[in-house]
Symmetry: C2
Subunit: 203 residues, 2 copies
DNA sequence: GTGTAAATTTGCAATGGATGCAAATATGAT
DNA sequence: ATCATATTTGCATCCATTGCAAATTTACAC
């Protein structure tokens, strides 16, 4: 564990962090579309070209902690507690996926402001959904492998898709209504309960 | 409905259709990224600039029938059968959303080839998910209004999100495995059954 | 320290999508 | 034929993204 990082690595981390902070700040200040890569790199004091050796696209910088979040969620499934039911495990997965995560020496959480930004800018919304989708894919895969004998691939996909699909759509409505983070979270829980109980319980 | 369409309208429809056909053909022939707007407009015999007065972006042309599909689905909910259960109604909604639809004088269905294209090109996948998401939003809204007294907004969102989330994720896995359209559809049905029965039924 | 190999950054040119704008065309109605 | 309106087109421009080669920086051996 003795992370002996040389100057080279430290410098890269510092640059990455500067780009992320500059980008998020500018996006919130003047809007996503209205901010150019040139402005971000100027604020981070690197060349425009360098931005693309850290992020593959302008959207990517907003999701800089995406991979760390997914891996944290996968770990929850991998380290499942023997006695726990699948449903309880999945609820823990969703819960953890909202916790703060560390990346680029930055410990961050999905603040309401960042969510707002992602839901508002079309390009970010689309990319975010794509990442969410890939996340679901990986989670379903992990779920199937963690319970190889009890849960087949289709059941795993149905479980993840149903639970997260319900929670995501419901919380989106809640956020759009301008509800508080507590209310949004409560809405998500209720939606997941419905998914767990089954649609048959409605109407 | 005596649609007395003048030359002007007929011409616009013809152009729109030419653009759609040229674009889809070229995308399948040489790939989405590899095809330029210039090539599409050349094939449709209009100027590059004109493309953007028909579609707001290069991705959009692939989803030309999206709005017609959503409206058909909304209509199914609006014309709900009094005696039918919510679950049966939603199953019909999903079923119909796969039917052929007419737009720009073109009657089209979501062919495996087009789905393949959408799932493969990152830009199309993201845009497609964004459209799917917006569709779910509108369906949930319609569901709530159609059953104003029995289904509140959160229940509606949970129902739509759960059912479609499960079906979409499961069928994606199925398609990726190269299964036949019949197998894919069977997988979707099974996933929806799980969503209807509830996650509690797993594991 | 020096020198050298490897990693990074940078500048530059080019491609392609997207948009605003005004001139040129085409269409519909009188 | 003529006028008002709708469409198309050409152009200029902005910006994200990529390839490439030169310049700079860091790591490491001697």
């Amino acid at each position: 564990m003795g992370d002996v990082v040389g100057l080279r690595v430290r410098k890269k981390l510092r640059t990455r962090r500067a780009l992320i902070e500059a980008a998020l700040r500018l996006f919130e200040e003047k809007g996503y579309e209205e901010t150019t890569i040139a402005e971000i790199t100027a604020a981070a004091d690197v060349s425009t070209r360098t931005f693309f050796s850290y992020f593959t696209s302008k959207e990517d910088v907003v999701f800089f902690d995406g991979e760390a979040r997914v891996e944290a969620a996968l770990k929850v499934i991998a380290d499942r507690r023997p006695a726990e039911t699948v449903v309880d495990l999945l609820l823990r997965v969703v819960g953890h996926s909202l916790d703060a995560v560390t990346d680029a020496d930055l410990t961050v959480e999905l603040t309401p402001a960042r969510r707002q930004l992602i839901m508002t800018a079309p390009a970010l919304r689309a990319r975010g959904l794509d990442l969410l989708f890939e996340t679901q894919r990986r989670l379903a895969d992990a779920l199937h492998h963690a319970y190889a004998d009890e849960i087949d691939p289709v059941e795993a996909a149905a479980a993840i898709g149903s639970l997260m699909g319900a929670a995501y759509l419901a919380t989106t409505f809640s956020m759009e209504r301008g509800e508080t983070p507590e209310q949004v979270w409560a809405t998500g829980r209720r939606a997941m309960e419905i998914a767990i109980r089954g649609l048959g319980s409605i109407g």
